[in-house]
């Protein structure tokens, strides 16, 4: 076992071209063996072939499923739903967080309740939501919005409340009015935290979208693909769903971070990719 930190400082570890290639090969050992094992295991029936599809079958199934552009349709449905819930929930969260962060009394009144509600695992709301709003689109969007609400609200709240006292005193010393104080001191100082909240909201809503499609049947959608795959015992369909789920999540995450970096480009890096 090497112990890199105790040797040289980090940026000095760039090796020769040969070393880089060896390192790359070393990195691909595990993924390659897993793929190879999968192919062999399905080829030679080491695993239950009724459940486990071969790599080729997954590919065939993908083409089959997408014959009429079904995958794109499902993806579009899910993303649209995600977007609606996200906009609703993030806006409400920013507003609530702003009020709670701005006014100490609002904070005292609202924050304990907010913290308690946050402690409730979000999917626990599903039975209640379906009883109140039914299992239609409204119910789904409210649930997704709820997923966006907490991180947006809590991070906005924290961001505003942790504006350094010294900066607020500075604003008082120069007699800034409340509007100037907000524009020149509070918002710039809270911005990284607020953006973090929005990013987390974006990522959580995608999870919530697929989850809610799982619980409330939703027609063509990513959650629907996963559910159908599991119900019909077609693992290859499940894999297609997982790949969709993972890649959209990955893209959202990258996008959110790129946006965050752009908005905060004047500052030392607070958001890590």
């Amino acid at each position: 076992m090497t112990f890199p930190m105790l040797q040289k400082s980090l940026h000095k570890r760039r090796g020769s071209a040969g070393a880089e290639i060896r390192r790359w090969l070393w990195k691909s050992i595990l993924p390659a063996s897993i793929l190879a094992f999968w192919a062999l295991a399905t080829r030679f029936h080491w695993v239950d072939r009724k459940i486990w599809a071969s790599p080729a079958q997954v590919w065939q199934a993908t083409l089959g499923l997408n014959r009429d552009g079904f995958l794109w349709l499902a993806l579009g449905e899910s993303l649209l739903r995600d977007l609606a819930g996200f906009l609703l929930g993030a806006a409400a969260g920013l507003a609530a967080g702003g009020v709670l962060g701005w006014s100490p009394w609002a904070y005292r009144l609202g924050a304990p309740t907010l913290h308690f509600l946050k402690a409730i695992a979000i999917f626990a709301w599903i039975p209640l939501l379906t009883m109140v709003f039914g299992i239609g689109e409204a119910s789904k969007i409210v649930f997704i919005a709820l997923a966006a609400f907490y991180p947006a609200a809590l991070n906005t709240l924290e961001g505003i409340r942790s504006v350094p006292k010294s900066q607020l005193e500075l604003a008082r010393a120069y007699r800034l009015d409340p509007w100037q104080r907000l524009r020149k001191v509070i918002l710039p100082s809270a911005l990284p935290s607020i953006l973090t909240g929005v990013q987390v909201a974006l990522i959580l809503t995608w999870l919530a979208t697929v989850g809610v499609e799982y619980f409330m049947s939703a027609g063509p959608s990513v959650g629907g693909i996963l559910l159908n795959g599991a119900e019909s015992f077609h693992l290859e369909i499940v894999f297609i769903g997982i790949i969709l789920l993972g890649s959209v999540g990955f893209a959202l995450n990258q996008g959110a971070h790129a946006l965050g970096r752009r908005l905060l480009r004047h500052r030392p890096q607070t958001l890590k990719a």
Binding site: K8, S9, H11, K12
Partner: protein, 298 residues
Amino acid sequence: MPWAGGFSAIDRKPLKPEVDIMTTKGILEIRNLGKAFPANGRKGSLQALDGINLSIRPGEFVSIVGGSGCGKSTLLRLISGLDDEFQGEISIGGAPVRGTSLDRGIVFQDLRLLPWLTAEANIALALENSGLSKADKRQAVAEHLKLVGLEKFAQAYPHQLSGGMSQRVAIARGLVNRPGLLLLDEPFGALDALTRSRLQAELERIWREEGITMILVTHDVEEAVFLGDRVIVMEPGPGRIRRELRIPLPRPRRRSDPRFLEIKEDILREFTGPETAEAESLEPAGRPLAEARLDWAA
């Protein structure tokens, strides 16, 4: 003044295992030393040090002065062995310096106390591999806490200490294992004037009694002249030695001695030109007065 009068409590004791003596003795020889950092963003590199030649005898006290950014800290890091990538040679007694050694101590400019260890435990860190018995370690730590006047703060965590107190802990950590060569990077920067001159006197006493070679980086010309057998004046871009001068004054030195003042002014002129030579130091002390006072009250 919680620690007034307590200094002589520290006796000369053989804190170091005998084996280390080998590396202590011998001339520190720096030849044609250069150091380049990869420059931020742009291609090419930043030459932090260039063509440094310096030779320091065992037991010598050398002060290095210069404005910020002229490579003083970089030079100390290279001597300490924390950074092995440089051009030129650094050797002690003919043997090239490779990696760190317990015989070369360093007091970092940014202190680097471990925030999860108490003041006491931070000092004890330097004795982990000293080969001393547990009891001896405890005693050495206690004595050095006393030396820097922090015996009441043995159990305090760094975040509970003021800047000046933290600095004293860092100094104690640098001294406690009695290295043969001690590198001090602006060790008194954050101290109030009284504590500072006390610790300067203490440092001089330890140096005299233990024969430790010391290299002190400072931006305070008076301090450099007060303590150094030699003062090295550095200049930036790239970091080079501009001037080297011997301080022929007998010890203990008096700051009001006219010859002392003359040397000081002479060095200050290197930086400021003749008119403004009254300026005491090259950089502001970097710490508001109020904090210094608090520090003193503690």
